[in-house]
């Protein structure tokens, strides 16, 4: 395919020139850790950390270099590629990177969260099984995600995409000795795989329409209107199928809560920086395709609206602290998806940025709590405020940021999304209304379950076994990342303040940058936060408005939530079990009747052939030849032996006669 991308003509600035090292370093670290990790003092952790530090150290100058250029009118990002493979004369697969505002923002998020997780894990995973391999997988995970973020063509992006999937499989199933955990890993892998099939078909559709895999080239071709609307809608929906799987949107969200089987820092990495944001990133990256197809965008928005509300409701009744966070992630990802769906591009990406900080913080904080009380369940926690002072303060900041307290990171991005949805709604879009109402309800519920999570964990009376469990604060390797992330959970949103201070909208925007801010919406958002948080506080701390929901008329709804809307059962009963059972039955039948028959027939044939060969070939022909040779030799020997008289003079006579004959012959013939 001939690339139509106008490569940046002038030489790239030095640090951009070596930006390809950013994904390569952690990937190389993976191999180093696998081969040499166990022999080192830190069991491979030091290689992983060094690799991430190097990637971060490269990403920061790349970030500043790029945002310095973003103001320029005709700057569309840096791009560089080399030939990966060639087919025929013109068909070329490239391997390259593309750096623009979206890329550098993602680079910082991925590298920083990964670094925090790496440092945190040195203490959290200390003495755990497969410690070295854990670090190897973390490095590969980060490397794959960085590759996905930097890729300038869809195939390379797919490589990173699948790499992320494999690593999540490895890490979710880290404690695979328990069947439940390995099942969770398989579920995560297979569920996202369903979406991946769509993603791949999406890539093919775009390739056949645009004749290139290059993202920039596809963008330009779509902008010029060379591709029909139907094709674009198909491609966008197929790509979105991939995003649904990866970003755990309804109806493929079922794998994410189960993915909590992995070690907690892995959950932080999966939820904040890698894996699940890959889906949202894909939609943002290919936004031109979506934008050109209003139908596809509406689907995106509706899926987001359904998912966010559904997941927020589920988060409200979970007992496992990590599952609360898992459903919270699904819900927040749906916020991003819905934002992209209603055209609030900057807001959606901004939410990736802010969400990364506070969700990583919350997961690492939850890890610290779990570390202290040795249980995932909030019914075993409570009153940890004084024993875990640092964890408590940082966790509170995380909860408030998630709930959307004004001033903290979560508020600004959530506000932008609400504003975007409201904007779309007031421009006459029904879907805009759906998203706005759903997002408002979700914001309220988010504040409520954040409060519930916080109060059940840190306030009230201890519910753990006080005679056996003595919680104490985690080591510095775990609290330092918490503090750093807490700072970002507060200040991370300030780059996206409304109005002319909004730096983020200058870096990441689609078409005209519009940093809309509406005071009524912000006030409304604040109200939702206060209301939700207060309700959570009243219900789960003060014990007001409590009623036994199981005996109330609402019992059916509780049952529905408790069973996760029966979606797992539905998939299990309708899809997995029938197919699996049929397949296994068919496989067994095939095995017995076809494969075994073939094998047995082969055996019998070989046996018969062997017998006949023995009888007809080996015995008469081969043995006959051997024995015959021996017999003939014996006969000849019997005849000739009489020449051997034992008389020396006879021998001498023969010798002389022989010489005489030789000499005579010599003289005659010469």
């Amino acid at each position: 395919m001939v690339s139509t991308v106008k490569e940046t003509a002038e030489a790239l600035p030095g640090v951009i020139e070596i930006a390809w090292l950013i994904p390569v370093i952690p990937t190389v670290c993976f191999f180093l850790i696998v081969f040499f990790g166990k022999k080192l003092k830190g069991k491979g952790a030091e290689i992983g950390i060094a690799g991430i530090v190097a990637a971060l150290a490269l990403s920061i100058p790349v970030f500043f270099k790029t945002i310095g250029q973003l103001g320029h009118k005709d700057f569309h990002g840096y791009s560089k590629s080399v030939t990966w493979m060639e087919f025929g004369d013109k068909e070329v697969l490239e391997l390259g990177y593309r750096i623009d505002g979206l890329t550098v923002v993602m680079l910082l998020v991925v590298c920083f969260v990964a670094l925090m997780v790496h440092i945190y894990s040195t203490a959290y995973m200390k003495g755990e099984v497969r410690y070295t391999f854990y670090y190897a997988a973390l490095s590969l995970f980060t490397g794959s995600m960085l590759n996905l973020v930097l890729a300038n063509n869809l195939l390379q992006l797919l490589v990173g995409w699948e790499g992320v999937g494999v690593c999540s499989y490895l890490l979710i199933g880290h404690y695979w000795e328990e069947k439940e955990n390995s099942n969770a890993a398989i579920k995560a892998f297979l569920t996202t795989r369903i979406g991946d099939v769509g993603f791949m078909f999406g890539i093919f559709v775009l390739f056949f329409a645009a004749k290139t895999f290059n993202i920039q080239a596809i963008t330009e071709i779509v902008e010029e209107g060379h591709i029909s609307n139907t094709v674009l809608t198909t491609a966008a929906l197929l790509l979105f199928a991939g995003a649904i799987g990866k970003s755990a949107q309804f109806p493929l969200h079922v794998w994410l809560p189960d993915a909590m089987a992995g070690p907690t820092p892995v959950s932080a990495l999966i939820h904040a920086a890698t894996m699940v944001v890959a889906g949202v990133y894909l939609v943002a990256r290919m936004y031109t395709v979506f934008h050109a197809s209003p139908d596809a965008l509406q689907v995106v928005a509706i899926i987001g609206a359904i998912t966010m509300l559904m997941a927020a409701l589920l988060a409200l009744i979970q007992n496992d602290i990590k599952r609360v966070l898992a459903y919270s992630t699904i819900s927040q990802l749906a916020y991003m998806v819905a934002a992209l769906g209603v055209g609030a591009y900057t807001a959606g990406v901004f939410h990736i940025w802010t969400h990364a900080w506070f969700k990583a913080l919350l997961f690492l904080g939850a890890g610290s709590v779990i570390h202290a009380v040795h249980s995932n369940n909030m019914s075993d926690m409570g009153g940890l405020k004084d024993q875990l002072p640092i964890t408590h303060k940082t966790y509170l900041i995380g909860c408030l940021a998630l709930a959307g307290m004004p001033g903290l990171a979560g508020f600004w991005s959530k506000d932008e999304i609400l504003t975007g949805a409201f904007d779309s709604a007031t421009h006459g879009s029904t879907v805009g209304w759906v998203v706005f109402i759903s997002a408002s309800l979700t914001a309220f519920l988010t504040a409520c379950y954040s409060a519930r999570m916080y109060f059940l964990t840190f306030r009230g009376n201890p519910k753990y076994d006080t005679s056996h469990v003595h919680p104490h604060e985690s080591p510095a390797a775990m609290t330092t990342p918490l503090i750093l992330l807490a700072v970002l959970a507060v200040a991370g949103g300030w780059i996206g303040l409304p109005g002319s201070w909004n730096q983020f909208a200058k870096w990441v925007h689609f078409g005209e940058e519009h940093a809309v801010f509406s005071f009524p919406v912000a006030a409304f958002g604040t109200l939702l936060f206060v209301g939700g948080f207060a309700l959570g506080w009243a219900m789960f701390h003060k014990g007001k408005f409590r009623f036994d929901i199981k005996k109330s008329p609402l019992a059916w709804s509780y049952k529905l939530l408790e069973n996760k809307y029966y979606l797992d059962d539905l998939y299990m009963g309708v899809i997995v079990r029938p197919i699996r059972d049929q397949v296994s039955r068919f496989a067994y039948w095939t095995n017995q009747n076809i494969l075994d028959a073939v094998v047995n027939a082969g055996g019998a044939a070989a046996l018969g052939l062997g017998k006949s060969l023995y009888k007809n070939v080996d015995q008469p022909v081969i043995d006959g030849a051997v024995n015959g040779t021996a017999r003939i030799t014996g006969k000849i020997g019997d005849t000739l032996k009489f020449f051997q008289t034992g008389n020396v003079q006879y021998y001498a006579a023969v010798l002389f006669i022989g010489i005489g004959i030789s000499v005579a012959g010599f003289l005659y013939f010469n």
């Binding site: 009489f642 051997q644 008289t645 008389n647 003079q649 001498a652 002389f656």
Partner: protein
């Protein structure tokens, strides 16, 4: 003196040797006949050296080697003959044809 005379002497001695080796029964005579044959060869060697005027005296030197080897061979041969005599009180070659089928 023409070389033919010398060669005729050598041929005569060699023939006597062959006759002795093939026709006589006594092992000691056989051994002596072998010596006669070897000496015939020595004469031949010296004669040809003189005829060809070979300055390095290769013929004579070769003859010396032959004499040495003949002495060694005779030593071994006589030892065998003596052992046979001790075991079987005879040195007749006809009666020691044991090394056959």
């Amino acid at each position: 003196m023409p070389v033919q005379w010398v060669l005729l002497l050598s041929a005569f001695l060699f023939s006597v040797g062959i006759y002795g080796v093939l026709a006589r029964r006594n092992a000691v005579i056989v051994l002596m006949s072998i010596e006669v044959m070897l000496n015939a060869v020595n004469i031949n060697l010296v004669a040809f050296n003189a005829l060809l005027q070979e300055t390095h005296l290769m013929g004579q030197i070769f003859a010396l080697f032959v004499i040495t080897i003949a002495a060694a061979e005779l030593g071994v041969g006589l030892a065998i003959v003596i052992l046979i005599y001790r075991n079987r009180t005879t040195v007749s070659i006809d009666e020691v044809s044991l090394m056959k089928w």
